[in-house]
């Protein structure tokens, strides 16, 4: 198929349609409303289900119900709306059924603003709902990746019977880029051996997240952990840029990853041996690759649009072998490449102080700079 100029949100929505999305439940919120808007036209046109729920709480519970029947189902929202879905996310995870969610992140906490942010990394990657569960979390950085990961998300959700979330932001959601959509796949409602899709002629099935008896709950917890080990072994995804001879490694995901790419290229043009590592699967996190890179790099620079949430995962993988530095913009501000370039120059040319936590060091530098 030919490349089309597509807006990130619309591209994700249409990719979901073509991946066989059968039902969507959601509630509008900027900057993801185009997902819902596109599906509100497309799904009824195809005889599929679109419901604008009365709230995000209702929407996630509708997703829960539809997912139990083995239907390909999704919802999408932005940060405050996703917070409202946390209870349902935990229930779906505890019930071990597939669902796809999209979080087009915006500035927070609270009602925040509608500008691009990455402040929900911890909520998505390290829990957010209660109890021990994991979601697969995928972070696109381009419109094409938004499409490809959306299609993958449905397959992964069903393969592992868990939620797969696309964690993106207002910048990628609102941006237009040339991209290629996949072929339309037919809607196939597989006859899963777990689905509650009518018990005529077969044993009743029960789907629930209630295990009143603690040993049964523990058994469930252990099963979830074993499933997660399989995900960790098979579903790590990332992209590398200029890493072959890199002394310094910038790490960034989504929008901050692509801003870092511009900075890395500019630094390369100045002769600095720097590369970029861009995690695509944030959960499972590419710990092993960072671990390996830490054996040959002389320093890392983590760039995020939050207060250093992925930074902790990088530190865990690097284990103090080399300095890990940090740069961020928050509040819905996207860093410009030249800000990241200055940081690369600093990391490459100055003696780095590892006594202080990189977040504290950055905060001190950043505040001093803005007060000047």
């Amino acid at each position: 198929m030919a490349r089309e100029l597509l807006k990130g949100n619309v591209a994700m929505a249409e990719a979901a349609v073509r991946a066989g999305l059968e039902a969507y439940f959601g509630y509008p919120i900027t900057p993801q409303t185009e997902v819902l808007e596109h599906l509100s036209a497309r799904l009824p046109e195809l005889g599929r289900t679109f419901v604008q729920a009365e709230s995000e709480v209702a929407a996630i519970n509708m997703v829960y119900g539809a997912a139990c029947t083995g239907t390909r189902v999704m919802s999408s929202s932005s940060s405050p709306g996703v917070s409202l879905m946390m209870e349902g996310i935990s229930y779906i995870s505890g019930t071990e059924i597939p669902a796809v969610l999209v979080n087009v992140m915006r500035g927070g906490p609270g009602l925040g603003n509608i500008a691009p942010s990455q402040g929900d990394y911890n909520q998505a990657v390290h829990g957010g709902g209660h109890g021990d569960y994991n979601m697969i979390v995928l972070a696109p950085s381009t419109v094409q990746e938004s499409i490809d990961l959306m299609v993958l998300a449905f397959d992964l959700a069903e393969k592992y019977r868990m939620i797969t979330m696309l964690l993106t932001d207002g910048s990628i959601g609102q941006m237009m880029e040339p991209a290629e959509l996949p072929e339309m796949r037919p809607v196939v409602r597989k006859d899963w051996d777990w689905a509650t899709n009518g018990a005529i002629g077969r044993e009743r099935r029960i789907l629930s997240s209630i295990y009143i008896n603690p040993p049964l709950e523990e058994e469930t917890n252990l099963r979830l952990m074993k499933t997660w080990q399989k995900v960790q072994a098979n579903e790590v995804r990332y992209k590398e840029y200029y890493l072959d001879d890199a002394e310094f490694i910038v790490v960034g995901f989504g929008t901050s990853g692509r801003v870092a790419l511009s900075a890395v290229r500019a630094a390369r043009a100045q002769g600095i041996k720097v590369g970029l590592f861009r995690p695509i699967s944030l959960n499972p996190f590419p710990y092993a690759m960072i671990d390996e890179l830490a054996n040959k790099a002389s320093a890392f620079l983590v760039v995020e649009m939050n207060s250093g949430q992925m930074l902790e995962d990088i530190r865990l993988a690097v284990r103090g072998r080399v300095p890990v530095e940090f740069y961020a913009r928050l509040g819905g501000i996207v860093p410009f490449p030249d800000e990241v370039l200055s940081e690369i120059q600093r990391v490459a040319t100055t003696k780095l102080n590892t006594d202080q936590h990189p977040r504290d060091a950055w905060l001190a530098r950043f505040t001093a700079q803005s007060e000047r």
């Binding site: 100029l5 509608i114 207002g170 609102q174 941006m175 880029e177 692509r258 490449p337």
Partner: protein, 186 residues
């Protein structure tokens, strides 16, 4: 090759669509391209801007601090972006909406009476194409023909009757800017 273009104006002046047309043309030329709008509350307050990045390879940041090419449709945009244009860059200003001259000498500033030129052709909504035409004098990455082909390929059918006028607007903007440039060079 990479080139960044920022287009800013009041809502309704066609700044966002001007950027989209350039993005379509770049895509049709086989380039990588990003188009990103300001979508925040400022958009609802009346000003709108977008950034278009055209490149040969995978595009990193969709935004740049100092774009080499800017179109300012009104005074607030002129005031905000004049100082941000990359040295050696080009700034196209809609003279119909500003009441001052250029304050920088290290960039090329071209004043184009966009509203008047558009109205002369018969439709003030052609302002954006006049301004794009003017920018094309200093944008080797795209030609009038590229923009025209993109309009033809991507405009909805119901708007196709406006193609000849759009073509005229592009050419009028281009010719006006070309004359201004010649004056500056002399």
């Amino acid at each position: 090759m990479q080139k960044e273009i920022l287009i800013a104006g009041f809502g309704g002046q066609g700044a966002l669509f001007a950027g989209q047309v350039m993005a379509y043309a770049a895509m049709d030329n086989g380039k990588e391209v990003t188009w990103i709008p300001s979508y925040g509350p400022e958009m609802r307050g009346g000003t709108a801007n977008c950034t278009v990045v055209i490149a040969d390879d995978e595009i990193g940041s969709p935004l740049v601090k100092n774009p080499p090419a800017v179109i300012a449709f009104n005074l607030p945009s002129f005031d905000k972006y004049e100082e941000l244009v990359q040295p050696g860059g080009v700034l196209i200003v809609n003279q119909s909406m500003v009441d001052r001259g250029a304050s920088r000498t290290d960039i090329i500033t071209i004043f184009v009476p966009g509203n008047e030129l558009a109205e002369e052709i018969g439709d003030r909504r052609l302002l954006n194409m006049v301004m794009v035409g003017a920018l094309l004098t200093r944008l080797p990455e795209l030609s009038i023909q590229d923009i025209e082909t993109a309009l033809n390929a991507h405009l909805p059918e119901r708007h196709k009757k406006l193609l000849p006028q759009n073509r005229l607007a592009l050419q009028r903007g281009y010719d006006y800017a070309q004359k201004e440039l010649e004056k500056q060079i002399i």
